[in-house]
Amino acid sequence: MQTLRFGHTAKRRLPGKKDIAIIGVVASGNLEVLLERVLPEAACEVDIATPLSGYDETWKAVVAEFVERSSPGGLRISINDGGARPDTVYLRLMQGSAVMEAE
């Protein structure tokens, strides 16, 4: 297993009141994303556990793109990966932040 951690400073706090959301399932080509609103205003941490090594740069790029697009300030995001493609990872991250923003 490889673990990766990326720390970002987002542009703003992610709006919404939801404290926790979980999206996706750990299955082949899929992943689960757990989002928790536990960090200060603009901070965002992403922890990844993946069985595939050697994709550090890809993960870094996908996470950076997500932070740029959705500005998930205040979130700690934890990922259990089942070997998902980058587009699936991006989709789940966006779904997760959309759920946190709802209501």
């Binding site: 297993m1 926790i20 979980i22 399932v25 750990v26 299955a27 899929n30 689960e32 757990l34 928790e36 556990a49 993946t50 069985p51 934890s78 259990n80 990966d81 089942g82 779904q95 959309a98 759920v99």
Partner: protein, 307 residues
């Protein structure tokens, strides 16, 4: 997106465990125990370089179904085939023991099975979990808890999950739901292709599939493959779960003995359906859920006060 996946018409078969819980229960009524943020995960999978899940593939908690309080345990069939491991098993066992020991907890427990059986990477712990689970179900039933199994997921209810289903007070199944102990490939490997041809999908589905289980009394209600279908079937059953006493046990023993006598010589499901008096047994496969449920409700073997 989550709204569409949990709406009444959404497919149960396609849904995740969390979507099923949300789609089955009254809106916003669910409270989870040991949720994903507590990270109660498998201590074994990382030894095999396999990813774990934050909830180890089981969602447990309480909520309401049509205003009635219920406890719920749901297996995630897409994670490791919904298998019983040390943690995933213990979560379900713990919920049942809590129901057994605390009368103020809901007296109905819905078990959303979706599992190939024991998780091979933690086999001993998984086998123990299944044994503990069956005992916990019996003890909870003795304590007045109605344990209702719901089977309609991609992994079906095989191995320990098949045994678990057979231990429950009532079983709801959909056409896509499969209930058995040994899977078709296992039977073919051990007993030969003459015994059971795992490649013959029509044979496999007509034997293990929900329609056959319902017709021969292996399930008590047939649900359309949707959130609303399972919800309606559970609601109809909840009111009439018999007490778990000596009388029920004796009735179950008689039911199973009579079933074996009647169907013991049959080679396939179609010949059992013929014995049941179904005029066109071959038409069963293509029958839609509503017509099939009505047919099953009219068959004596399929409707009993035992189990």
């Amino acid at each position: 997106m989550e709204g569409a996946a949990t709406s009444g018409q959404a497919s149960w078969f396609q849904a995740t465990a969390r979507q099923r819980v949300a789609g089955l229960l009254d809106p916003n009524s669910f409270t989870e125990f040991l949720g994903p943020s507590e990270r109660v995960q498998s201590p074994h999978l990382h030894l095999f370089d396999l990813p774990s899940a934050f909830d180890d593939g089981v969602v447990i908690g309480r909520g309401k179904l049509d205003g009635e309080d219920v406890l719920v345990a749901a297996q995630e069939g897409q994670f490791m085939g919904g298998t019983f491991g040390e943690v995933s098993g213990a979560k379900i066992v713990g919920l049942l023991r809590a129901a057994r020991d605390h009368e103020h907890l809901p007296r109905t427990l819905l078990l959303l099975l979706d599992s190939g059986g024991v998780r091979l990477q933690e086999a001993n712990a998984g086998e123990l979990a299944v044994a503990e689970l069956m005992r916990a179900i019996v003890e909870a039933r003795c304590g007045g808890v109605a344990v209702i199994a719901l089977v309609g997921g991609k992994s079906g209810a095989f191995g320990g999950a098949g045994l678990t289903a057979a231990t429950c007070s009532r079983i709801v199944v959909s056409g896509q739901g499969r209930i058995a102990v040994s899977g078709p490939e296992v039977i073919e490997t051990n007993e030969g292709v003459e015994e059971f041809d795992a490649e013959d999908k029509a044979l496999v589905w007509s034997t293990d599939g929900g329609k056959n289980r319902r017709l021969i009394g292996g399930a008590d209600a047939f649900a359309e493959d949707s959130m609303e279908g399972f919800r309606a079937a559970v609601q109809a059953l909840m009111a009439k779960v018999p007490a778990f006493d000596l009388q029920t046990m004796q009735a179950e023993q008689e039911r199973l003995a009579a079933r074996q006598k009647r169907f013991g010589a049959c080679d396939d499901a179609v010949s059992m359906w013929r014995i049941l008096g179904i005029k066109e047994p071959k038409a069963i496969r293509d029958m839609d859920s509503k017509d099939f449920a009505a047919l099953a409700n009219s068959i004596k073997e399929a409707n009993h006060d035992a189990r």
